[in-house]
């Protein structure tokens, strides 16, 4: 199996301090209360690393979640950022409201397959439709962990619970759904492949608009046995890479010299670049039809398709469509938001 990450020339080692003078420790959160070996903890570490390497000041970040094991994790990374563990399936609304109040925030939401694909499916779809600037991570393990192992709507057909119960409903592919609804950034990662996830996360930070990241994140307690299709062993075996991913910061002077036609380069909102190296087939992530075809095929093949599934960085975010004041709305003063007395007088005259 190929490497998921593209080795870049002149790549510097990760420094002990990032460009804004913070250490990786400054990006840590509280101690996790999840099961030892939980995929979600791996993802939390990947988030820490991506934000550290992207030089994001944690104070500028707002973290959101719904309810479930995954939704507990915002307490376990970026402790210096405000966090909001909201209600089941309704994190998109809360994050939307917060972004309207303060569009300078860098927002990250963590949800799960139950939180997104079942109770929160409606809000998820409207979040995609609105294209709110938010990194939306679905820590997908196919089961409800916190309520002790019931199937979720992403469980694969034929997969087995520990109790032997077989799922006979088809899985919901949240990436394909996001593509269908026009999301500008859709990726799938695997908690057991940190390099790939960190690159995806960095690209998501660089993206302006909603970034949906479905990450297969095994539940060691309820869905990591023989017959489960979202455990570590199964995932590793069925990981199907769309491409090798490389991420180059906007300020990095890295010269790239690849064989023509083998690497696609996508410039992101902040000027950084994504490099996608062709593997077996040429995959164009700006082609929604190809993205859907590939996603459907993966389900038929029982494969776990990972990589940048769909990417349209130019898509306008909801914030830019609203033509809001550059100053965050929350910070507007009375002088800026209370029209003068003449305005009220005029309105009153019209009603006389």
């Amino acid at each position: 199996m190929a490497e998921s990450t593209l080795k870049l020339p002149n790549e510097a080692a990760v420094p002990k301090e990032n460009r804004i003078g913070l250490k990786a420790l400054d990006y840590q959160g509280g101690k996790s209360t999840l099961c030892a070996g939980c995929g979600h903890d791996a993802v939390s570490n990947q988030i820490v690393r991506a934000f550290y390497e992207m030089n994001v000041k944690p104070e500028k970040v707002a973290k959101f979640s719904g309810i479930g094991c995954s939704s507990k994790t915002p307490a376990y990374f970026l402790g210096r950022a405000h966090g909001f563990n909201s209600v089941h399936g309704r994190m998109p609304a809360v994050a939307t409201g917060a972004m309207l109040a303060n569009h300078h925030l860098i927002s990250i939401g963590v949800s799960g397959d139950g939180d997104t694909a079942s109770i929160g499916l409606g809000q998820f779809m409207h979040l995609v439709r609105r294209n709110i600037p938010l990194i939306y991570i679905i820590e997908n393990n196919g089961v409800y962990g916190l309520t002790k192992g019931q199937f979720s709507a992403t469980a694969d057909e034929g997969s087995k619970l520990k109790t032997g119960v077989v799922n006979d409903l088809p899985p919901m592919d949240l990436c394909a759904l996001a593509v269908e609804l026009g999301c500008g950034f859709v990726a799938r990662g695997y908690a057991g492949d940190p390099k790939q996830m960190v690159n995806i996360l960095k690209a998501a930070v660089a993206h302006d608009g909603l970034a949906v990241i479905d990450v297969i994140s095994p539940c060691v307690t309820f869905n990591n046995h023989d017959g489960s299709t979202k455990g570590y062993a199964y995932s590793k075996e069925h990981d199907e890479l769309l491409h090798q991913i490389g991420f180059v910061q906007s300020y990095e002077q890295i010269e790239i010299d690849y064989e023509p036609g083998t690497v696609r380069e996508v410039t992101l909102h902040d000027g950084s670049r994504l490099l996608l190296k062709k593997l077996e087939e040429d995959y164009d992530p700006s082609n929604a039809v190809q993205a859907l075809q590939r996603s459907h095929k993966a389900i038929e093949d029982g494969a776990m398709l990972t990589g940048l599934i769909y990417l349209r960085p130019e898509k306008k975010s909801f914030i830019s469509l609203l033509n809001m004041s550059d100053k965050p709305l929350w910070s507007l003063t009375e002088a800026e938001t209370r029209p003068p007395k003449e305005a009220l007088d005029q309105i009153m005259r019209e009603l006389m």
């Binding site: 966090g83 998109p92 009220l344």
Partner: protein
């Protein structure tokens, strides 16, 4: 169809009594929904207003776009009593499907103007009938069938206006206002008015029983509905984030707000100082409001009962995690879909205790369009001061009907943004603070906003158990401390919510308690009791929840207190019973819940009967006689 029916009006008998009644009449118009009668009814109402006569207009419409029956009632009253009145003086029958019941409901002596083919005449003897060939008259105005339908409505305005003696100039002015100066719309409507006036002059008797004569009681006043008033208040109150999901009767609040914000809230840079989002449902609307409030915006949403039900879970989060946000509930008749286009005050319990667990919310209750304006700003302040959802309980009658008012007063009180620590203050505190610490002893903690540039600014917001430092906790002592502090915060709110308006009469043995739109009918009922029966009453008008100590003092000071409200169970009455405890035997309930606004006569009759026979609960019926029923209350 016989010629006599279509060509001329029929007057069978002269009107009784020669004396005219001046500036005191009720006009009831029955039409088919979707026929465009709203514009013409508004013109009629406004022309009376412009004659200087106090007036109100109430639209009783169906949940339907076109085809079902709809009614509009205009009441003109020189003394300013503008509550709904049951007795109709002038009826305009334009709807075949309701003509018979419309006529049957009239009181003897009323006048009925009807579309000639409806053949109302003959249904009864004690009403004066005027048949008008509307189709023929409209046909003389236009060949366009759709326009003819609209002009038909304006013709009856001309006829009624002529009967009442309203100046033609004032009708023309009202048309100009209604159609915003657009000549293309104004001209045919003026022609229709003239057609109606001319027809009435030539065909109806010269004698006019009800008259509108010029007076000076409306100069300088405005006409507006409560939803638009709330929108203006929210705009001047510094609202920045608005989320909503369409629902009758609340949609026009946010729709008005969109219009006003676009006009008055675009900054010098051409950019909006607001964001308005039509959400996918009320759950999302509420979530967005709380997310925006959490991040520091002055946010609001507007809905009605079914939306409030959907917001229940988020309301609990807002209460427990302490998130600001304003929710307007324009109440309609429930339960379930209920009567979506009719008015009620039935969401008192639902709103006050909304969500699971021990929750209590602060609610403001406006009774007038002026209070809708004032409370809109007040609610935004209270939300930030108390870091909790603030509900505003309006209703369909207030929100969607037109009301006369003094112009709104420009707010000069600075915004109150509540206890928010910024980076500088955190530095001064050495970064030591606790999100849910009650440092001032008022139950209200300090908060920080996301994005605050200080390493100690952050905290974790959650609907699960937490300690004073916002850390996850399941400790019994932490939980109890949290909910006890929330109770203290609710107690503190009593000092800040709008206090009741109390009119205490020294010689009154009985008192009334009411709130919201019941007020207009109640004040008129008090006038009737005083002037017709010599019964003096005190009155306490509630303007907010939680109840303040004034309520118990008021009940203590009277032998009997009648709580009048527009729901079946007497919800506020029960909250008052809980509040006053051992003197609850003094409480009585007068309840009006037909979907129509409460009227004064029903209250007056109920009170007299209850004083006479000791009945404790009266549920007002639809007929002239109030039907009564006693329930097993102590």
């Amino acid at each position: 169809m016989p010629d006599s029916m279509t060509a001329t009006a029929v007057l069978d008998e002269p009107l009784t009594g020669a004396a005219s009644i001046v500036n005191d009449c009720t006009i009831h118009v029955a039409t088919v929904n979707g026929s465009g009668s709203m514009s013409s009814n508004s013109v009629l109402m406004r022309s009376i207003f412009q004659m200087g006569v106090p007036v109100s207009g109430k639209n009783m419409f169906p949940s339907n776009i076109a085809g079902l029956p709809t009614w509009f009632t205009i009441r003109a009253n020189k003394d300013g009593w503008i509550a709904r009145k049951k007795e109709v003086d002038i009826m305009v029958c334009m709807n075949a499907s309701t003509a018979r019941e419309d006529v049957e409901a009239l009181q003897p002596g009323a006048v009925c103007i009807y579309d000639a083919p409806l053949a109302c005449k003959g249904i009864r003897e004690d009403v004066t009938f005027f048949a008008v060939p509307f189709a023929k008259l409209a046909g003389e105005l236009s060949q366009d069938s759709r326009l003819r339908k609209l002009l038909t409505n304006m013709i009856y305005v001309g006829i009624v206006a002529e009967r009442l003696g309203i100046d033609r100039d004032e009708i023309i002015n009202a048309i100009g206002k209604q159609f915003k100066g657009k000549k293309k719309a104004i001209d045919p409507n003026v022609a229709a008015i003239d057609k109606g006036i001319e027809y009435a002059r030539e065909n109806l008797p010269k004698q006019h029983h009800w008259r509108i004569e010029r007076m000076n009681a409306t100069a300088g006043k405005i006409i507006i509905d409560g939803n638009a008033a709330a929108a203006i208040g929210a705009m001047f109150g510094g609202c920045t984030v608005v989320t909503w999901y369409p629902i009758t009767p609340s949609s026009s609040l946010c729709e008005s707000l969109i219009d006003y914000m676009k006009e008055y809230r675009i900054g010098p840079d051409g950019k909006a100082t607001f964001a308005i989002v039509q959400a996918e449902d009320e759950l999302a609307a509420m979530g967005m409001v709380l997310g925006a409030g959490w991040a520091g915006a002055r946010s609001l949403t507007s809905t009605s009962g079914p939306g409030i039900s959907l917001m229940a879970e988020f309301a609990g989060l807002g209460y427990f995690a302490e998130l600001p946000g304003v929710i307007w509930d324009i109440q309609r008749v429930g339960p379930s879909t209920g009567l979506p286009t009719r008015t009620a005050q039935g969401d008192i319990f639902e709103v006050y205790y909304l969500s699971h667990g021990d929750t209590q919310h602060i609610a403001l209750i406006p009774a007038s369009v002026a209070e809708c304006f004032e409370f809109a700003g007040e609610a935004l302040d209270l939300a930030e001061m108390f870091q909790t959802p603030i509900f505003v309980l309006s209703d369909l009658d207030l929100g969607m009907n037109n009301w006369m008012s003094d112009p709104f007063v420009y707010p000069t009180k600075p915004y109150r943004r509540g206890k928010v620590l910024d980076a500088k203050q955190l530095e001064e505190l050495g970064g030591k603070w606790g999100r849910y610490l009650d440092v001032d002893g008022d139950g209200i903690p300090f908060r920080t906003l996301p994005g605050t540039d200080h390493p100690m600014a952050s905290y974790f917001t959650r609907g699960s158990g937490h300690d004073a430092h916002a850390r996850y906790s399941e400790k019994p002592s932490d939980y109890k401390a949290t909910v006890d502090r929330l109770a203290k915060k609710h107690e503190t709110a009593k000092q800040f919510v709008p206090p009741p308006v109390i009119d205490r009469r020294a010689d009154a043995k009985v008192g009334f308690i009411a709130y919201g739109t019941t007020d207009v009918a109640l004040e008129e009922a008090r006038h009737q009791l005083r002037s017709e029966h010599g019964v003096e009453t005190s009155y306490l008008r509630l303007r907010a929840l939680p109840l303040t100590a004034d309520v118990k003092a008021f009940v203590e000071a009277h032998e009997r207190v009648y709580v009048v409200e527009q729901n079946r169970d007497g919800q506020m009455g029960d909250l008052i019973r809980l509040d006053v405890g051992d003197i609850q035997h003094k409480l009585r309930k007068i309840l009006h819940y037909t979907g129509l606004p409460c009227d004064a006569r029903s209250i007056t009759d109920s009170l007299l009967q209850m004083e006479n026979d000791g009945t404790r609960v009266v549920r007002i019926g639809l007929g002239a006689e109030a039907t009564t029923q006693t329930i097993g209350e102590d």
